[in-house]
C-alpha cells in the first residue's frame, strides 16, 4: 500500500512540476480597472473627487469592518464590484451568490424565520424585489442625491434601488462568422443561412428572458418569434450556458448579454456582440438594505457607493448600462453603446412586464415546443 501511495504522489508531482515550469499567464484583459480611482478618506469617503459618505458614516462602517451581501448577480461580475468596493473602503464583503429565483427562496425563508443573514440583497426581477419588499426584507435608505433620482431608480421611498441594467442582445463566434457577415439586426437572424446555427435561452430562465421576449413581441412584431422558431434554434436553460456553447463554437450566433460577452472576450473567447438596428432589451437589477442588517453603516455605505459615479462606472466597465442618467453609457469591446434616449435601449416598465409575463411565457413555450 505504501509503495502505491508513493507512486500516486510521484504521479502527482509531474503535473505540479509542469505547472511550475509553464505558468505563463494567458493574454487576458482586466475588465474592471479598480486601481485607477483616487481615494481620499481623510474626511469621509471621497473617490475621484466625489463625496460618497461623510466621516461619521464612513467611520461607523469601518468600525463594523464587513458586510454580508446576498446577490443574484453574475458571480464573477459581483466579485469585480466587490473588489473595487473593498479597495476603495477597506470593508470586507461576504458574498452569498445564488441565481435570483433560488436567492428569493432563500431570502424569504430566512426572513420568515427572522434569521436573514444578509445586510444587503441584490436581485434582478421587479417581481422578486417586490416579494421581498412585501415580506419586509428591505428598509428605506436615502443615498446621496436621492432626491434627484426618478422613480425608475428609487423605489418605495428608497427601500430598494435600480442600480444598473444588463443589455440583452445577440452575439456571434468571431472565428465561425466573419464580422462582415455577422447579422446586424434581429430580423437578420431569421435568414436561411442561420438555420440550425442559432442558440437562444428558454423563456423561463428568469426576468432577463421575459424582458427579451417582451421586447421581441413589442419591437419586432408578432411575426418575429414564429420566424425564429422556424430556424430551429438550440434552446439553452440559461444565457450563460448559451454563451459558453457559442464560445466553443457549438452554435454560431446566440442571444447573449453584453457584459457576459465582454467578460468572456476578456478571457479569450472568440465572441463579439451586435448592437442590432432594432435595439436591445435592458433588464433591471435592484439593491436594498435589509431590515435585519447587523452591519447597518457598512450596508448603507455599500448602497451609497453602488449609486455613486464611481460605483456606476464599475458597472459600466463590466458592460452594464448604468441606472443613473448622468453617467454616460459604456464603450465595450470597441463599440460605443447607444445613449439611454437613443431609442435603442429598451427598458420595459416593471408592471407591464409582470402583466404580460404569463401570456408571453405561454406563447413562447408553444412556439418553441418547450417545457
Amino acid at each position: 500500500m505504501r509503495t502505491r501511495l508513493r507512486y500516486a504522489l510521484t504521479a502527482l508531482t509531474v503535473p505540479l512540476a509542469l505547472a511550475a515550469a509553464s505558468c505563463a499567464a494567458p493574454p487576458s484583459v482586466a475588465v474592471v480597472d479598480a486601481e485607477s480611482a483616487t481615494v481620499d478618506t481623510s474626511d469621509g469617503l471621497v473617490v475621484d473627487g466625489e463625496r460618497i459618505a461623510d466621516a461619521e458614516l464612513f467611520e461607523a462602517a469601518r468600525a463594523e469592518g464587513s458586510l454580508s451581501l446576498y446577490s443574484g448577480y453574475v458571480e464573477n461580475s459581483e466579485k469585480q464590484v466587490i473588489a473595487a468596493f473593498e479597495r476603495d473602503t477597506g470593508i470586507e464583503v461576504n458574498l452569498v451568490r445564488l441565481v435570483p429565483n433560488r436567492l428569493a427562496e432563500r431570502v424569504l425563508s430566512e426572513q420568515g424565520a427572522g434569521r436573514l443573514g444578509a445586510d444587503v440583497v441584490r436581485t434582478s426581477d421587479y417581481d422578486i424585489a417586490m416579494r421581498m419588499y412585501d415580506a419586509g426584507v428591505f428598509t428605506g435608505h436615502d443615498v446621496p442625491g436621492a432626491d434627484s433620482l426618478d422613480d425608475t431608480v428609487r423605489y418605495r421611498d428608497g427601500a430598494f434601488y435600480r442600480v444598473f441594467n444588463p443589455l440583452y442582445t445577440f452575439a456571434y463566434n468571431t472565428v465561425l462568422v466573419d464580422p462582415e457577415d455577422a447579422p446586424t439586426s434581429w430580423e437578420g437572424l431569421t435568414e436561411d443561412r442561420w438555420r440550425g446555427h442559432l442558440g437562444i435561452t428558454q423563456v423561463g430562465a428568469g426576468g432577463s428572458s421575459l424582458t427579451l421576449t417582451r421586447f421581441q413581441e413589442e419591437r419586432l412584431g408578432p411575426d418575429f418569434l414564429p420566424a425564429l422558431a422556424d430556424q430551429r434554434p438550440r434552446i439553452f436553460d440559461s444565457s450563460s450556458a448559451a454563451l459558453e456553447s457559442l464560445a466553443r463554437g457549438e452554435v454560431s450566433v446566440a442571444t447573449a448579454v453584453v457584459s457576459s460577452v465582454n467578460i468572456a472576450a476578456a478571457k479569450n473567447a472568440p465572441v463579439d456582440f451586435v448592437v442590432p438596428e432594432e435595439g436591445m432589451a435592458a433588464y433591471d437589477y435592484f439593491v436594498g438594505k435589509t431590515t435585519s442588517a447587523r452591519h447597518e453603516a457598512a450596508a448603507e455605505l455599500f448602497l451609497d457607493w453602488n449609486l455613486s459615479q464611481r460605483g456606476q462606472d464599475v458597472f459600466r466597465q463590466i458592460g452594464e448600462f448604468p441606472a443613473r442618467s448622468d453617467v454616460s453609457p459604456p464603450e465595450i469591446l470597441g463599440q460605443q453603446l447607444p445613449a439611454a434616449d437613443s431609442g435603442l435601449i429598451v427598458r420595459i416598465p416593471p408592471q407591464e412586464l409582470i402583466d404580460a409575463a404569463e401570456a408571453d411565457q405561454r406563447r413562447w413555450l408553444s412556439l418553441f415546443g418547450y417545457l
Binding site: P26, S109, L243, E244, L371
Partner: protein, 569 residues
Amino acid sequence: MSTLLIRIRRGLPTSVLLLILGVLVIVPMLFIALAAFSSETPRPGSIGLSGLSLDNFAIFGSSQALGAVGNSLLVAGSASVLALAIGCGLAFLAARTDTPGRRFLYFAGIAPMFLPSLVGALAWSLLGSPATGFLNLLLHSVGLNITVNIYSMPGLIMVLALYYAPYAFLLVHGALSLMNPDLEEAAFVHGGTRRRTLRRVTFPLALPAVLGSGILIFALTMENFPVAQVIGNPAQIDTLPSFIYRLMNASPSRGNEAAAVAIVLTGVLLIVTAIQQRAVLRRKFTTVTGKGVKPKKVPLGRWRLPAFAAAVLYFVLAVVLPLGALLIASLQNSPYVASLGQLTEPGALSFYALGELITSDDFLQAARNSVLTAVLAGLIGTALSFGLAYTVYRTGAAGRRVLEFAAMAPLAVPAIVLGLGLLWTWLVVPLPVYGTVVVLIVAFLAVFLPQSYRGVSASILQVDRDLEDSAVLLGAHRTKAVTKVTLPLMRVGMVSTLLLLLMLCMRELSAALFLFTSDTRLLSILIFDNYDNGAMQGAASVSLLYCGVIGVIALLAKSLGARTVDGAR
C-alpha cells in the same frame, strides 16, 4: 412492573432511532408534502394547513410532465441495466475469474467513483459535443466522417451508466468475494458443471447484492440532476429532475408543483423499494459463516484477454478520456478549438489558470469544507446505519419496518427537493445549525441514508446470527458479542459503506444547493456555480482538482480499510 421496565428498555433504542430519522427525513418530507398540497411554499412564519388542495397535481395533465415521466423511466431503466451489466461483469471478473490484472480490474471498477456524475457529464460534453467535441475533432482529423453526438438519448444513458456502474461493482464484488465456497463445492461434488453451478448457485447467492444495487442505481439515475441538465438539456430531453429544477427555477418559482412532482416520484419509488424489500426479507441469503472463506476462481480460457480488454475499454471511457478532456479544457487559453493541431501551437495551453486556482482561497476553503463534511457524515452515517440495520434484521423490535421505510425513503426524494425540505426544517428548528457545516452534514446523512443502510444491511444479512448468539450463549454480553463477533465479520461491508459514503458526500451537489453560505461552500457547489455562470474552464479546472481530492481520500480510505482487513487475518 419489571416487564414494563424491560419493555421500555427494549423499545428505547428503536425510539431514539425513530426520533433521529424523524428529524433527518420525515420532517423535511412533511414540509415537501405540505408544499405539494398548498398554494404557497411553506416558509417559517407562514406555515398553515389552510388552503390545501390537489391543484398542483394538475401539472400531470400536461404532455411535458408525462413526457418527462416517460423519459425518466426509459433513461433510468436503460441506464440501470447497462450499469448493472458493466458493474456485475467487472465484479465477477475481478472477484471470481483468472482474468489478468485483477488489481487493475478492481481499480477500474471503483475508479469512476472519483468522477462525480456532474464532472463526468461536463467532461463528456467536452468530448462528444457534435460541433467541437474533442472526440469529433479526433475522428475528423484522421479522416473519419463520423460524428459522435453525446447530446442524445443514447448519450444520456451511456454517461449515466458509466458513472453508476461502480455502485453495482462495489456491492456485487463484496458479495462474490465473501461467498462460502462450500455451496459451490457441493454443487461440483454432485456433478454440476461449472456453468450450471454459476447459474444455479453462485449468481443466485449474489442476487441480493445485484437486486439491491439495481434498485439503487435505478433510483439514483432517475433522480440524477447534473447529467440530465448537462447532457439531456441540450438535446431537449427532459427528465423528472430537470423538470422539477425548471419548475423551481421558473420565474416566478413553481415550488408547489415541483413538490407535487416530487411526491409522485417518491410514491413510485417507494413501491419499487417495497417490492425489493419483500424479495430480500423473504429469503435467507446467509453466505458468511464461521468457516473459512476462499472462493474458487473460474478459469476463462481464451476469454481472458477479451475480458481484460473490455475492462480497459470501460476504464478509458469512464476515466481516461474524461480526465484528459478536463485537463485540456483547464489548460486552454481560449475556449474555442477548431482542430486538435491548434492545441499544440505555442501559447495554446498554460498551467497559469490552474495554478491560480489551486492557491485561491475559494478553492482551498471549499476543499476543506468538502473533506470535513464528507468525513463526519461518513462516520456518523455508517454508525447510524449499523444501528438501523441491526435493529431491523437482528431484533424483533416493534416498528422495525417503519425504521426501514424511513431509512429508505430519501432514495425516492430528489436530493434537491430534500435539500429544500431541510432548509425549511432547520430554519424553523430553534438550534443554531443553519448556515454552518453541521447543516450540510445533516443533509448528507439524510440524503445518503438509503445507500449506507443498504450497504450495511446487505453485509449484516450475510453474517450468520448464530455466530453472535453463540458468543452470548457462552457468557458474553450482547454488546461484546456485537463488537467482537458481528462487527469484525462485517468489516468489509462496513468499510465499503464508509468508502461509499465518503465518495457520495464528496460528490453531492443538489442537497447542498440551498444550504450553503459563503463560508461553507463545497467543491461541488464551486463547480456548478462555474458551469452555471458559463465558466466552463473554471468548472473543468475545479473538476480536475476535485477528482484529485476525491482520489486522495479514496487512497487513504483504501489503505485504512486494507489494514483493518490485513490486521484481522
